[in-house]
């Protein structure tokens, strides 16, 4: 049965994903929820909560208000708090009961925006989807609401020349949240790798960039999608401003081809998905090795491991909105039993440590700790992990013959 989980946890939910994506942008996130969403999020899914303030609140929805439809309380509470803090924007986020009773969030957002004078929008969530959906929707809302048309477009339909040959290419990094990038310094390292390959990072969506910096994203030559949560925004920026995108993480030997793809996309204007398409080894379905996790990271690790070992790796993910990132031999699986089934023939699995509980006996396991899966159980391992160094990750492992 695909709903029951005997031993595996669930991934971070959409509500937490939305809050995580918007955390650093100076807005106010209001989760329409009775209790628990904020505690769950800040305890298990948010590594910044203690040391860095952000305006993320719940409404404390009560049964009586939910039944009687007392939206006035929500509107007043949000406007009062917004008046106190004057955030850059207000994001409304929903949970199961408002979804169930059909709360009209777009209408509430319009009313709140009119009363508060602050840009307000609804991030489509209902507490029943995973963080890729929530973070992806949230970043898309930022793009739709705040990215400005460049005065002099560097590329796209209005550009006649594309990026100047002797200029460093400007890149937006899309899909950054601690849920996928919890290793301290991981985003700075990513930026440094890009810099070494001739790219200037224009924006980091959304760790380490301000909202004002994100407004200028349309000046970029190319977007690098580093998690599935960045994919919707990539499509929006491509459609609206003509910025091509490339999906992948610079891991081990996969770094060079990824950087080449990025430069090529900036020149040609075509999108590529190296995390999906780079793997060349024949017939992954006949092999017994896989990477399980978030699709961009898993595809990138699979590519890097293929280069390091000469063997094929299959990507397995349970996360939503990842279909575009999966190759024909890769798998989307839903539910614990499907995961167990997908892993049962495996001799080598790379993934979060919690997956080890459903790996077959004797299977070799490579640890890729993932905050969005095992939460704070992963944090200790994340402190010592170098997410881009495939040699270290594979060190001492018995690999396939």
């Amino acid at each position: 049965m695909d709903r029951s989980y005997r031993i595996l946890p669930t991934y971070t939910g959409d509500v937490s994903g939305a809050a995580s994506a918007l955390y650093e942008l100076g807005g106010m996130v209001v989760i329409h929820d009775p209790s628990g969403c904020n505690s769950t999020y800040n305890t298990h899914d948010e590594t910044r909560w203690y040391d860095r303030e952000s305006l993320i609140f719940i409404t404390g929805l009560a049964a009586r208000d939910a039944v009687l439809g007392n939206d006035d309380k929500l509107i007043k509470d949000v406007c009062d708090t917004a008046g106190y803090y004057r955030p850059a924007f207000i994001a409304l986020v929903s949970s199961p009961i408002p979804y169930l009773n059909g709360t009209d969030f777009p209408a509430l957002a319009r009313i709140i925006e009119r009363r508060s004078g602050i840009r307000t929008f609804f991030v489509a969530t209902n507490g029943m989807h995973d963080y890729v959906r929530g973070a992806g929707n949230a970043l898309l809302k930022i793009a739709e609401n705040f990215v400005e048309k460049p005065v002099e477009p560097s590329r796209g339909p209005e550009s006649s020349a594309g990026p100047a040959a002797n200029c460093r290419l400007k890149v937006n990094i899309l899909g950054l949240t601690p849920l996928d990038f919890a290793v301290e310094g991981a985003v700075d390292r990513l930026q440094a790798i890009l810099a070494q390959h001739g790219f200037d990072v224009l924006t980091r969506w959304a760790m380490g960039s301000t909202l004002d910096e994100l407004r200028r994203s349309a000046e970029a030559d190319v977007d690098l999608v580093v998690s599935a949560a960045g994919l919707q925004t990539a499509h929006f920026l491509e459609k609206t401003f003509g910025i091509p995108f490339v999906a992948g993480l610079p891991v081990g030997g996969f770094t060079e081809p990824l950087m080449e793809a990025l430069a090529e996309a900036a020149g040609s204007g075509g999108n590529t998905l190296p995390c999906r398409d780079f793997r060349k080894a024949p017939a992954p379905s006949l092999t017994h090795a896989c990477v399980i996790g978030e699709a961009v990271a898993a595809g990138s690790y699979a590519a890097a491991m293929e280069l390091a070992t000469g063997k094929a790796f299959r990507v397995i993910t349970s996360l939503e909105d990842s279909a575009e990132l999966l190759g024909p031999e890769d798998l989307f699986v839903s539910g614990e039993e499907a995961v167990e089934d997908a892993l049962k023939e495996m001799e080598l699995v790379a993934g979060d440590d919690f997956y080890e509980a459903v790996c077959p006996a004797g299977c070799d396991f490579i640890s890729l700790p993932h905050l969005a899966f095992s939460g704070r159980n992963a944090v200790r391992d994340l402190k010592t992990m170098d997410p881009y160094d495939i040699e270290k990750l594979l060190a001492g492992r018995h690999l396939l013959p």
Partner: protein
């Protein structure tokens, strides 16, 4: 503006108010809610794990599930926790009852060892869809008569107008206790998570051959069931109500609520009621009281005029604690709590009259997100939230009363205050851990 911190920006009266101007029982208007990064209090997962060998199954959407499944994982109890995920299509198809039944039976069937007892936690969604929970439990019991299914709830949407999930859980946790012959001289303490600290009661119980049983000391499911053999049930913690009296009534046994307290009169009264219920003479508590007061005076000499702040998660009677300390000359300046318990109404009005400048500060009001936590002077905090909001390393790391009881509890608290005053702790590391006293991966 109220200056709670020693320096910096004050808080508006919407978030911090002198008790002289505070309302009872809700000093602050309901607003958006902030959740501070302080997690030592136990949640329903921690509490449910107290039943030995029991397994927990939650049935909800992924976002709600995340908090409880990782609570179990963090306390190294993944093997005792399973879940059934509800999706929006289940709601749209009206399929939630069937998914709940099938999911629970599926996970129970896949467990390596059948648990004697499964705590089942449906959620707000089940309420709002009008799910027939009786039908669900009937089907579960028909399918697995070898398992005791305990109906629990994770339904925080109901808590503002009714019982909290914690109160409901404590009530549910008594349900497997069935009628057994009462054993003379056995008292069962129910509805409290912590073992009681050694106190003046112990010697008196021993002298009178009274055996005190409690859940924290149960190591097997059978020991838990044997709690029903008590001739007297005792509750000491407020959220044990209303489950504890209901249990006593169902099993036809006497019951006492002897609340954890810092009030000398109430401590004496509790002991007298316990003795009377057991048909014994009440003990002489004079020496225990004198020792407690001496310990407090000693602590006062050390701590002097250092500012003290208390939060409501540290003890169910934070106002009572403040009253005791203020009356003994300590400098208590602030209480962190958003509601005043009905049990403390009298104490509230005492403090209002005698210490009107004592500040009550909200914990959850949105203004607290950016409250200035910096203090120029040393602050001694009693409780994790007070420590966080005061940004102090000097704090008593305790939740829910910590097992303090009687005059010995006052004596021990004085000792803990002295220790906290002298020895700084790593607040950042300690307060973010869930379920103080449980195993933690953090």
């Amino acid at each position: 503006m109220i200056r709670v911190a020693g320096a910096g920006r004050g808080l508006p009266e919407s978030a911090a108010v002198p008790i002289g101007r505070a309302s009872f029982p809700a000093p602050f208007r309901s607003q958006l809610e902030f959740n501070p990064p302080v997690h030592g209090t136990w949640n329903i997962v921690h509490i449910g794990m107290r039943i030995p060998e029991a397994h927990q199954v939650y049935v909800c959407g992924i976002n709600c599930m995340r908090g409880v499944v990782l609570t179990a994982a963090e306390m190294e109890a993944r093997g005792r926790f399973s879940c059934v995920i509800l999706k929006d299509e289940d709601i749209l198809k009206g399929n939630v009852e069937q998914v709940t039944i099938d999911g629970i039976l599926d996970v129970v069937g896949r467990l390596p060892k059948t648990p004697p007892c499964v705590l089942v936690f449906p959620v707000c969604t089940h309420h709002f869809l009008g799910c027939d929970m009786n039908y669900i439990y009937r089907r579960l019991r028909e399918a697995r008569p070898d398992v005791t299914f305990v109906p629990c709830w994770m339904d925080p949407i109901m808590q503002k107008h009714g019982l909290t999930p914690e109160q409901k859980l404590r009530r549910s946790m008594f349900e497997p206790l069935t009628e057994r012959p009462a054993r003379k001289g056995v008292v069962s303490l129910i509805g409290y998570d912590f073992p009681l600290r050694p106190s003046e009661i112990d010697g008196w119980l021993e002298m009178n051959a009274i055996s005190l049983h409690d859940l924290p000391h149960c190591t097997t499911y059978e020991e838990y069931l044997a709690l029903a053999e008590a001739e007297l049930f005792v509750a000491v913690y407020p959220t044990a109500l209303p489950g504890a009296p209901a249990l006593a009534k169902r099993l036809g046994r006497p019951y006492l609520y002897l609340p954890l307290t810092f009030d000398a009169g109430e401590i004496r009264s509790n002991m007298a009621r316990l003795a009377e219920a057991l048909g014994l003479a009440a003990p002489d508590l004079t020496q225990a009281e004198q020792e407690a007061m001496a310990a407090l005076r000693e602590a006062r000499e050390l701590i002097g005029d250092t500012e003290i702040r208390i939060d409501m998660s540290m003890h169910p009677r934070p106002l009572g604690l403040a009253k005791l300390l203020l009356d003994e000359g300590f400098r208590v300046t602030c209480l962190y709590q958003d509601a005043i318990s009905g049990e403390e109404k009298e104490t509230f009005f005492y403090l209002k009259e005698h210490y009107p400048e004592l500040v009550i500060s909200s914990v959850i009001r949105p203004e607290m997100r950016y409250a200035d936590r910096h203090s120029l002077d040393k602050v001694l905090a009693l409780g994790q939230k007070a420590a966080y909001f005061s940004d102090t390393p000097y704090f008593v790391n305790m939740v829910a009363g910590g097992g303090l009881i009687g005059f010995a509890g006052i004596r021990d608290l004085a000792g803990l205050m002295k220790e906290a005053y002298l020895t700084p702790k790593d607040t950042r590391d300690l307060v973010v851990r869930k379920g103080l006293g449980c195993a933690s991966c953090v």
